[in-house]
Amino acid sequence: MYSVLFAGASLGGWFVIGTRRDRPTPRSTRSRCSSARLGLAMLYRLMDERGRVDIARDQAVWLLIGLACFALTLVIVRDIRQLDAYTYTIGLAGIVLLLLPIVPGIGYSINGARLWVNFGFLQFQPAEFGRVLIVIFLRVLPLPTARAARRRCGAIRASAGEGPRPAAARVGDVARGPPARARRRRVAAPVRRLRRDDVGRDRPVLVPAARDRPVRGRGVHRVAGPAAYPGTRRDLVPRARPGERERDRLSARPGMVRVRLGRHGPGRDSVSGRRRSSRTSEATSSSRHSARSWGCSASPRSCCCTSS
């Protein structure tokens, strides 16, 4: 009887994972499977323990609670980059959770380990959650990988006076390297189109490829960076605009790439040599320093990496 219940719970968990993901990617399917397998692992253990029914029942209840928390996390965290904005808050919360058992009155010890917290209605080990939060927090460490990535990619120049809501750069938009750094090195700032390859990168790798010529004169689109990024939660994950595919958008964390209209208006697109569509140039000429990215609608033909 319990096994039936547990099987139902596992299937329920699987169903939850299957329905709650909003954008399917091939990889999510696989991790779904691994989670479901873990459900089976629990099932195994619990059936083994059927001799002591009370323990098994407790575990079943905790399993259901755990699955509920699983679903809740999936609902709350639509994208893990949301966590990126709250790194320090999360770290502080993690440390508080780790220290919570020391607090006299609510903390107590079992078997000599002072790990538990008793709020009257529930007892739990805050360190378990604190551990998860600390893991999220640890990204602030200056890890060599992050530094290497920064060195390789350069930094994107931040331009001031942007609008309230940055738009994400898209495949086909033009990214431009850091002018200050280029001036220091007395070379032209690397400029190139963003490719499909760049999707998901924090910063595009701004080493001009052979087929990407530098943009000169008119129609230079600047790429805004971290300083222009307002840290409000709404802006963390920009919505896809109509006709825009999710995977064509780039990263939207602080440090995102954003394409902005240059001083002289769009003019001729000096990378591909094609004139912009009339709709976009009209929109940009009306507001010269418009913060809205008007970046060309990700057109497959200008994106040199698309295969289809």
Binding site: I17, R21, D22, R23, T25, P26, R27, S28, R30, S31, S35, R37, L38, L40, A41, M42, R45, D58, Q59, W62, I65, G66, L67, C69, F70, T73, L74, V77, R78, D79, I80, R81, L83, D84, N111, A113, F124, Q125, E128, F129, R131, V132, V135, I136, L138, R139, T145, A149, R196, V199, G200, R201, D202, E246, R247, S251, R253, C305, S307, S308
Partner: protein, 98 residues
């Protein structure tokens, strides 16, 4: 014996998947998060398994998803949910032709 091997293999699959997620992420934060969370689970499994094998002293670390105890299980599920979220989204690597 066979059962233990099966369970360990399941853990191996889970950890391998988690590291894979970290590899395939394009952003630094996603990479760090996925690998970090996977490491948490993996270290716990290692601590228990090695403790049982007398490789290291047995300590009171719960085996994820198997040990008795509510908090650990809930925390593990939160980790799994974060991993699932890390495995999807616009910042995941886009393969050619997909």
């Amino acid at each position: 014996m066979l059962g233990v091997a099966a369970i360990l293999l399941l853990y191996l699959v889970l950890i391998g998947r988690g590291l894979r997620i970290g590899l395939e992420r394009r952003d630094t934060f996603g990479k760090l998060l996925a690998v970090g969370l996977t490491t948490v689970i993996g270290l716990q499994v290692f601590t228990i398994a090695a403790g049982v094998l007398r490789l290291i002293p047995l300590t009171g670390v719960p085996l994820p998803l198997v040990s008795y105890g509510g908090t650990s299980r809930v925390a593990t599920f939160v980790i799994l949910a974060l991993l699932v979220r890390a495995s999807a989204g616009a910042w995941y690597r886009v393969r050619k032709g997909t």
